[in-house]
Symmetry: C2
Subunit: 488 residues, 2 copies
């Protein structure tokens, strides 16, 4: 089974597609650019959702739900926003089908044309700010801290499972504030929440920073991003948080009376992460034997395999161990299938990324031990059954920490500091990875470098962005030291 | 605040709309027939989801996600199915907007017309069974027990918040089985799960039964339903589970090899409940002072109100009580707002349906008591702070039980047995409610009664459906004793 995966070295892109397929995570659907998220892939997203939802609630947010459809005229109200999304919109024009008068099947009923076309939401700022106008009257109605879990559609031309799909699942936070300072603080707070989630749960180190003007969200005054390094050295934007200024408040006329009874426009943020994170998780940790899931996000953390097959004694021992593990909050399954042999099962559970495998054979039981195999390093150890729950609990923590440390070390190895454009191009071509260099702060320089090399400014890092000299491209005064990379 | 609600006796329909609005549950959106689910309403749905999701997983189901869009041609593949849904479909015809060449704003780009139109899913049998064709090869791939949480769209002409909306949120289970018997058992098992959820969590008694042919799901061989009585005596279909036979397997050519290596079509079920349940919950329990939420589904079970306003001593006592309640798994909030007076707060929390209110004043603290008010009966009691957590935990159970008992008693009072059509019409007109009568089993009789009186057969109850005499309408031999009612 594992043999069927294309090795990373040979073809990284095919390796990714192979894992998505062989680990049963997702597949293409008959609808262009839309994927089917299969149960094993969806379980990862469910676990991500549960953790994030708690983090949002712990920071004072509540959930709500806004319509799937947006009247076409709403999109035009914020100039940059429509510019950013108009070219990739799914448009609903009719509300009824009828029997085909000329043959079999059904056709669109021409008499059921909508007066105004509806857009399937690519993001919900417009419909939400149109709603907020009626919810916000005075400073007492603020702040409004709302999140939505939803599906959105952006008609992308080139799609890949999880990383870029026409329909995807996400959450979008939309908050409203009386003061500019509060809105900026909120956008930064959620930026921090995303970084914490990526590092503490996905075991994926991220660089926190601000986007350059070229890469900002359509309609934002500032976009904060977390950027992670994949195993091919490319960057993946894993989550963004936007300070929207008063752009949407002005477009939708959302004002409040401050405590001096003066009218003022409301300040806004929005922030989102999506099923793209599942793609990031796959690409960050997995190996040539299949998926690796960090224990904190694994639906099944431990699998027990009877060797060579289940019998009364082994099953009884497995059940006792399961009780102990469950009591420690560890999720565990017993693979009692009689039709397949241990070797097949080992390969299958490795492919699916289950963090820990316990093998139990007759001889093991005689010695009161089990064989413990960890997915991340492939190490195997013989461990006493007595106290196994403590051992496994610690091992899961260790695997979580190891995955993070490994990814961090990989990033360090593949991060480079350069000072000249020649050096930049050489490193980009020969080594890839993250490249730190001085930038003059102009969109022209950024665009020229992108056109010439394919690399973009991923962010102006929150830390260490002081220029160390002139811009590597223009030779003009350096404004920031920024992170360049090729990106997904 | 409470004064603004129209009493049930005066106008039941307006009473419902008032509660939806004043309790902050939902509101109409600028998109025809689509609602905005506000945080307080969404929290009820979230709690319902969490309980149901666990019940589905405990019965062996896993979650997955299928595309929002369905190719138009898929709908036509099952004849009854397309007949049932074609007239209410949102149709996507284009994938891009462009700047309006004749003025401001954006228009649909005519060059971005889709080759085949896409339907926004009204339900997902077709896309899922098209996918299952590739997942099912042999009996080893069965059963397939999958659920999806999703939004769906049915272009309804007359909509009401929660009860009937163009877009709604729901779950749809779609299972595949080798044997007919297994599929029927699955459909009945989920029927039972729905009944248990309605009664044990929503405190809403339901009649379980099968739908008559006229009322079956489009494409089903059997539809099992749970029917609840609202406070105006009308029935509300709260959840349905369908035995789909081999209809979708045949339409999408889904076959498996049985253990004799013979090819056979797969057997199917589907089952769903939706945000309609929030409407049912409101209508089942609430009163003229506002919403009543059964404690098991309340996001906030207890609110503490300082009297007349928060001070150091009261706040300290409230915090101690909160710690004790939280330790018992009770969700509690402290209403420390200084701008509003207790009377206003009481009315507001009653409007929002919080099951228990604790009032704490100076005198209470001197006597080491708090005033406990229960939402369901409006009773107030002075209770010792010592042991308050036990008292409140028991009280929440008692409220849950009382709501169920009250709804059950109401249903009993408003259920009638009749034997003649004259009697039927008189009871329907003068008393309403549920009416049990003999039916000859023909669609013609059912249709005639519906046309003449507006009442429909809600179900052939699982219990006591033996006819006690001839059909009340046709005089022909009775086939079943069935439940008639007017319905939402």
């Amino acid at each position: 089974m594992a043999k069927e995966i294309t090795p990373r070295e040979e073809n990284y892109s095919q390796w990714y597609n192979d894992i998505v397929k062989k680990a049963g995570l997702a597949e293409n659907s008959p609808v262009r650019g839309c994927m089917v998220i299969k149960p094993h892939g969806f379980a990862i997203w469910e676990n991500m959702k549960a953790v994030l939802d708690k983090m949002f609630k712990d920071t004072g947010h509540v959930n709500a739900y806004f319509p799937l459809f947006i009247p076409k005229s709403f999109l035009s109200k914020e100039a940059e926003h429509v510019e950013g999304f108009a070219k990739e919109c799914a448009v609903v024009t009719h509300h009824r089908l009828m029997n085909n008068p000329d043959g079999p099947g059904v056709v669109v009923d021409p008499s059921a044309k909508l007066e105004e076309e509806l857009i399937v939401r690519p993001t919900s700022e417009t419909i939400i700010w149109d709603t907020y106008r009626n919810w916000i009257h005075s400073y007492r109605d603020l702040p409004l801290l709302i999140n939505q879990w939803a599906n959105v559609v952006r008609w992308e031309m080139r799609t890949r499972p999880f990383l870029r799909t026409a329909e995807f699942l996400w959450q979008e936070g939309h908050t409203a504030h009386a003061l500019k300072r509060e809105a900026i603080d909120e956008a930064k707070k959620m930026h921090e929440v995303y970084a914490r989630f990526a590092e503490d749960y996905m075991a994926m180190p991220v660089i926190k920073g601000a986007k350059s003007a070229n890469e900002r969200f359509a309609g934002a005054e500032d976009t904060y991003t977390i950027e992670a390094m994949m195993q091919d050295g490319k960057a993946l934007q894993a989550g963004t948080s936007h300070f929207l200024g008063q752009n949407f408040a002005k477009a939708f006329d959302v004002k409040y009376l401050d405590n001096n009874n003066k009218e003022a426009y409301v300040w806004a943020t929005s922030w989102g992460v999506s099923t793209r994170l599942v793609g990031a998780l796959i690409m960050c940790h997995s190996d040539d034997d299949g998926l690796i899931i960090p224990p904190k996000l694994a639906a099944t953390q431990v699998v027990i395999v009877p060797i060579p097959k289940p019998n009364g004694e082994i099953t009884a021992a497995a059940e006792q161990i399961m009780v102990k593990l469950k009591a420690k909050g560890i999720s565990v399954m017993y693979d009692s299938d009689k039709k397949t042999r241990p070797g097949y099962k080992f390969a299958e559970h490795e492919m699916k990324g289950i963090p820990v495998r316990l093998g139990i054979g007759k001889r093991d039981l005689e010695n009161n031990v089990v064989e413990v195999a960890r997915r991340d390093t492939k190490e195997k150890m013989s461990i006493a059954i007595d106290g196994i729950e403590e051992y496994v609990a610690n091992l899961l923590d260790e695997i979580q920490d190891n995955l993070f440390a490994r990814a961090k070390a990989f990033r360090a190895e593949n991060s480079h500091e350069v000072n000249t454009y020649d050096e930049f191009k050489e490193v980009l071509e020969k080594k890839g990875g993250f490249i730190y260099a001085n930038w003059d702060g102009t969109p022209e320089t950024e665009q020229a470098i992108k056109d010439e090399t394919g690399a973009t400014i991923r962010c102006i890092p929150d830390d260490n962005h002081q220029p160390t000299g002139p811009c590597m491209y223009s030779g003009a005064e350096g404004k920031y030291r920024v992170l360049y990379a090729k990106a997904y």
